[in-house]
């Protein structure tokens, strides 16, 4: 019975994940794309929980769905409605080639997995209850992966400085902040 429930949760989460990923790249309105990506992140968090990655699942919901996607939605709201259908503009062979390239990528990954892994991935390692807990992850971050931890902080610092510079640079050049909203909306139509 427990096995059955696990499978039901997995199938629902996996299909929600795949469907929302397809929705992100097919919606015309970027606002709906961002909302679909939030659903994608939430269903991915369920998959992480089933892989006993509790801390990563919590961080996923907090950082991605909480912080990053709110920033996305703010920028989309700031830019106004900019419709962009996936098949509009550009020759159709480009669209077909893009989908074909993505399909080839998928087949390549699956074939490489099948060739390299075969059936050797089926038996999972035994883990204790502390696997994936904040305590264990924090210990690894501050012992084995200290360098990666510090480099991550530098990457975040550089990104923050870059964001500030990108945001304040245009203000010193031309008076762009005085752009009336009608102009922006008229241009996007």
């Amino acid at each position: 019975m427990g096995n059955f429930i696990v499978w039901v949760v997995w199938v629902v989460a996996a299909f929600a994940c795949l469907a929302s990923a397809l929705a992100v790249i097919t919606f015309t309105n970027p606002f709906f794309s961002a909302l679909a990506l939030i659903g994608n992140l939430a269903s991915l968090a369920v998959l992480y929980l089933m892989l006993s990655a509790e801390f990563v699942a919590a961080a996923q919901v907090l950082i991605y769905a909480g912080a990053v996607m709110v920033m996305f939605l703010f920028v989309i709201a700031y830019l106004g409605r900019q419709g962009d259908a996936p098949w509009a503009g550009g020759p159709s062979w480009q669209s077909l080639a893009a989908v074909g390239a993505a399909g080839v990528l998928f087949i390549e990954i699956v074939v490489a997995l099948g060739l390299k892994a075969g059936g050797r991935l089926s038996d999972e390692a035994a883990i204790d209850v502390f696997f994936g807990s904040p305590h264990e992850i924090g210990r690894l971050f501050l012992t084995d992966h200290l360098l990666a931890f510090e480099i991550t902080s530098i990457v975040l610092l550089v990104a923050a400085v870059g964001g500030v510079i990108l945001g304040s640079h245009a203000r010193s050049g031309q008076p762009v902040d005085s752009a009336p909203l009608e102009v922006q909306e008229g241009r996007s139509r």
Partner: protein
């Protein structure tokens, strides 16, 4: 074992990665390109965590957290660029923003 095997998670991760790649190649709005990039990064994260569970080592989860930090930085810089482009009244279309083409 209970539940699906790691192979199933890896197939989902591969599909996510391919879907994100299709979005990056298909769409011309840089906003949606950024969203598709997030899907690709999440596919890689799912594969990392699935392998971490398979081998019972937490290193994969640690690396997935580092990938999330990189993704957040990328979004900050990408959205900053998009806002800067929009302020200069340029079209938000990755096909038309080709000034830096070599």
């Amino acid at each position: 074992m209970m539940g699906p095997e790691v192979n199933a998670y890896l197939i989902v991760a591969a599909f996510l990665f391919a879907t994100g790649a299709a979005g990056v190649l298909l769409r011309r709005s840089p906003l949606v390109v950024l969203l598709s990039l997030e899907i690709m990064l999440n596919g890689a994260n799912l594969a990392l965590i699935a392998f971490s569970r398979r081998f019972g080592e937490l290193d994969g989860q640690v690396f997935a957290l580092a990938v999330m930090a990189v993704a957040a930085s990328e979004v900050v810089v990408g959205l900053g660029l998009i806002v800067a482009i929009a302020r200069r009244r340029l079209d938000l279309d990755v096909d038309k923003l080709s000034t830096l083409r070599g």
